[in-house]
């Protein structure tokens, strides 16, 4: 291991990337292989369902495609019920993000605007780049510069802008004594929303033309 430590203490780009791997090894959040595998599955699901496409996310902003919200709401509905009882049984923990009201609202507005224009989010963007979308790669370069600006001016500008945290509240906390009922209702309602959002789709001829007629989803 002495060699690895020596390399990761260096200052080159390669050493900084190795420090990233080392940081994951030092954490107690799964092995590097497992984290990589989680990424592979994540990328595979997003690519296989085609929700990384501009037509799906920008299409939703124009209300011409509802696959993304249907899939998101279904994933949330199912996970919320299973996760709650998994946590109760000691099989998982809460990792709730703080309620920084100003940050959530200003950040949400910026995020919503950019998601409509780019037609991607930070999770689906890389999957698009992996299938050869140069425009999204340019978006990612913009994103890295955004991340740089955020890091440089965090103390002086962005942290004060986010405001103080109002705690890490979750919905069931607001109904003491009825937590289980709240979780079930939330999970079922969100799942039903996913099912009842009308299914509309915006297809991309450039992708469809790669498929044979019997495979084309628009001709079924």
């Amino acid at each position: 291991m002495a060699d690895v430590v020596f390399i990761t203490e260096g200052d080159s780009l390669g050493a900084r990337v190795l420090q990233m791997v080392e940081s994951v090894v030092d954490q107690d959040h799964g092995s590097v292989a497992l984290v990589f595998l989680i990424g592979v599955i994540f990328g595979g699901i997003i690519q296989y369902t085609r929700v990384d496409k501009f037509e799906k996310i920008a299409g939703f902003s124009m209300l011409k495609d509802t696959i993304v919200p249907k899939m998101l709401f279904l994933a949330v509905g199912l996970t919320s019920i299973a996760l709650y009882f998994m946590i109760e049984a000691g099989g998982a923990h809460y990792h709730v993000k703080p309620i920084v009201l100003q940050g959530l609202i200003i950040g949400g507005v910026l995020f919503g605007i950019s998601m409509a224009i780019l037609g991607k989010c930070p999770g689906t963007g890389p999957i698009s780049i992996a299938e050869g979308r140069i425009d999204v790669l340019i978006g990612a370069i913009g994103g890295v510069l955004g991340g740089l600006v955020f890091t440089l001016y965090y103390d002086d500008f962005f942290k004060p802008l986010m405001g103080e945290s109002l705690g890490n509240g979750i919905l069931p906390d607001l109904f003491p004594g009825h937590e289980n009922m709240v979780v079930l209702i939330f999970g079922i309602v969100v799942t039903l929303i996913a099912i009842f959002i009308p299914k509309v789709e915006l297809f991309d001829e450039a992708d469809l033309s790669q498929l044979s007629d019997d495979q084309r989803p628009d001709k079924k």
């Binding site: 990424g39 709730v96 425009d135 913009g142 994103g143 890091t151 992708d207």
Partner: protein, 168 residues
């Protein structure tokens, strides 16, 4: 069948979220925007000791960085062998239909949107993955506020930015 239906995607994504949350998995939530400033730190060789934010995100940034490499790999393999959607392109088909035919316009808007997207996500402390999927699955109040604001802004922007009238 070259793509999965939305319900299958939702079920699989739910399974992946649960695996990641589980103490037998990663015992944390999936997120995918913290890696961006983390990479900015790596690329521009910022000293992690000098910047408060890099110190704060050291663990989640590196974790998501490894996950991102996996996602790029998984996305690439799937696009080449299963969905057959891999091709180099500069402008989405629907951008041509609802915005314009200019590659320069698309690239400039992409750059601008990418820039404010990461600032927005970091201000809010999460993105679609961290807030919407992982946060809402925990019924977090923060995720519901973020999700509501994003949904409304997304749809208003879509209405105003794209030329949707008179086109099907």
């Amino acid at each position: 069948m070259n793509r999965l239906p939305w319900w299958m995607g939702g079920i699989l994504m739910s399974g992946l979220l649960l695996l990641t949350f589980s103490i037998f998995g990663a015992d944390r939530a999936i997120g995918s925007s913290t890696y961006v400033p983390y990479f900015a730190g790596i690329i521009f060789d910022l000293d992690p000791e000098k910047y408060t934010y890099l110190k704060e995100i050291k663990n989640s940034g590196s974790w998501e960085g490894i996950m991102l490499f996996g996602a790029l790999f998984g996305g690439f393999i799937t696009s080449v062998f299963i969905t057959k959607s891999f091709r180099i392109s500069f402008i989405p088909t629907a951008w041509k239909t609802y915005k314009n035919n200019s590659v320069v316009s698309r690239l400039l808007w992409s750059f601008f949107a990418g820039f404010i997207m990461i600032i927005g996500a970091r201000l809010a402390g999460g993105c679609t993955s961290g807030h919407f999927m992982s946060g809402m699955s925990q019924m977090a109040i923060s995720a519901m506020i973020f999700g509501g604001v994003v949904m409304v802004t997304l749809i208003v922007t879509g209405r105003l930015f794209y030329n949707v009238k008179g086109k099907k």
